[in-house]
């Protein structure tokens, strides 16, 4: 038997709690407030109160504290202690043996009916706690309520799926990404004047011609400059990581992640290009030491 089950057995053994009287007798002003708030225009309540108000007469009020022998309070404390800290009500069944007349004094007693669990639920693992309230006028039971709550340990939130930041592929840059997918580092070359350029663009900054072509670079170069990225977090990356601007042997510079511990990176570090397949559609260039 678990601790929770042992505690439940004990609280069930208490049987019915002492009867706690309502603050006021069943009265017309409270009924009229209730009808007004709920928008209920029924004419049925001139002599008797609405049956659905049964619980209202014994509500604890603004400064309510639970009695020591209140079985729900006792069981909730046990479950709080056991780590089931959240609560949601699941069922409420009220049975009215008769309607209440104005002037009647109502008192409430309660007992623990069952504690069932631990159950796996959509909200987390928890216990269903069922109590029964019985309202009395004198010794006559006039209404009853089965009330069930789920007392649960909130399931840890699923880590959000991190969207990968994807490079924008367009007509100017498609050749580059098609290259990385094939294990080639392609550098744009003006078909008019032969000038190499990176990053890609539609027009040659040297001769202003719009005839871009490309060549496959050796993939060898040296670190021209670099940063160590500590913050903010980047999806799919473990911090810190190095981003290096590398001057290729061909003369242009290309920025990519440098796969090396930050304290081993320096300007002039010889590197070569490698390719990291992210998924079927994307392969990223990455620098490695050589």
């Amino acid at each position: 038997m678990t601790d929770v089950e042992a505690a439940a057995r004990q609280v069930m053994g208490w049987g019915e709690s002492a009867r706690r009287p309502g603050r006021d007798p069943v009265n017309l002003p409270m009924v009229r407030n209730w009808l007004e708030a709920l928008g209920d225009a029924s004419s049925a309540y001139a002599e008797e109160a609405p049956p659905a108000m049964a619980q209202v007469w014994t509500m604890g009020g603004l400064h309510h504290t639970r009695a020591d022998d209140d079985p729900l309070g006792a069981m909730l404390a046990v479950l709080d202690e056991a780590g089931y800290t959240s609560i949601v009500a699941t069922d409420c069944e009220q049975t009215y043996h008769r309607y209440l007349r104005y002037g009647e004094e109502v008192a409430l007693a309660a007992r623990l009916e069952s504690v069932v669990g631990p159950k796996r639920t959509a909200l987390g693992e928890g216990w269903f706690v069922t109590t029964r309230n019985i309202w009395y006028v004198g010794d006559e039971p006039v209404a009853e309520m089965m009330f069930r709550v789920l007392k649960f340990a909130p399931a840890p939130a699923e880590p959000p799926v991190e969207p990968l930041i994807r490079p924008v592929v367009n007509r100017d840059t498609a050749y580059f990404w098609e290259g990385t997918a094939r294990g080639e580092l392609r550098i744009q070359r003006c078909e008019a004047c032969g000038e190499l350029r990176h990053p890609p663009g539609p027009m040659c900054p040297s001769c202003n011609e719009t005839k871009p072509g490309w060549l496959v670079a050796s993939g060898l170069g040296e670190v021209y400059s670099y940063v160590v990225h500590h913050h903010p977090p980047v999806p799919g990356r473990t911090l810190p990581f190095v981003v290096a601007l590398v001057e290729l042997d061909e003369g242009v510079r290309l920025m990519a992640e440098l796969d090396a511990p930050p304290d081993e990176v320096h300007i002039g570090l010889p590197v070569r290009i490698a390719f990291a397949a992210v998924d079927d559609e994307l392969t990223m260039p990455v620098w490695r030491r050589r």
Partner: protein, 127 residues
């Protein structure tokens, strides 16, 4: 004359913050999540929301609006679903599902934009 299968006229409640607060207080329920939006949000709710005593009261109203003042309500059994936050519209629909002597069972659902807020049955006795 009530017949099994008969549908009740739907009832739509405009659940304004005033409605949530005034019904909570009229049922003597002073829990902060029913009247203090800041605390309700702090506790993980979107807004203040209806309390259970009001749900029971609204289910009773829905059935007695249709059945009239002479019927006696014997039992209200509700299952609680999604919360009903301020600014929701709560719409009750119902149907007579059982008949036994002069007692009838009405099956009831109260839905809002999030789904089923309350579902259950009401047993009534007609004179």
């Amino acid at each position: 004359m009530i017949t099994v299968g008969e549908e009740l006229p739907p009832l739509s409640i405009d659940v304004t913050p005033t409605f949530v607060v005034s019904t909570a207080l009229a049922t003597r329920d002073f829990q902060d999540v029913h009247h203090d939006r800041d605390l309700a949000v702090q506790r993980g709710s979107k807004d203040i929301f209806l309390n259970i005593l009001t749900d029971t009261g609204l289910v009773q109203r829905f059935v007695t609006d249709w059945a009239g003042p002479a019927v006696r309500v014997k039992k209200i059994a509700i299952r609680l679903g999604v919360p009903c936050y301020a600014y929701e519209t709560l719409t009750f629909t119902g149907q007579v599902t059982e008949h036994d002597g002069n007692e009838y069972v009405v099956s009831v659902a109260g839905r809002n934009s999030l789904g089923d807020h309350v579902t259950g049955t009401v047993r009534i006795e007609v004179p």
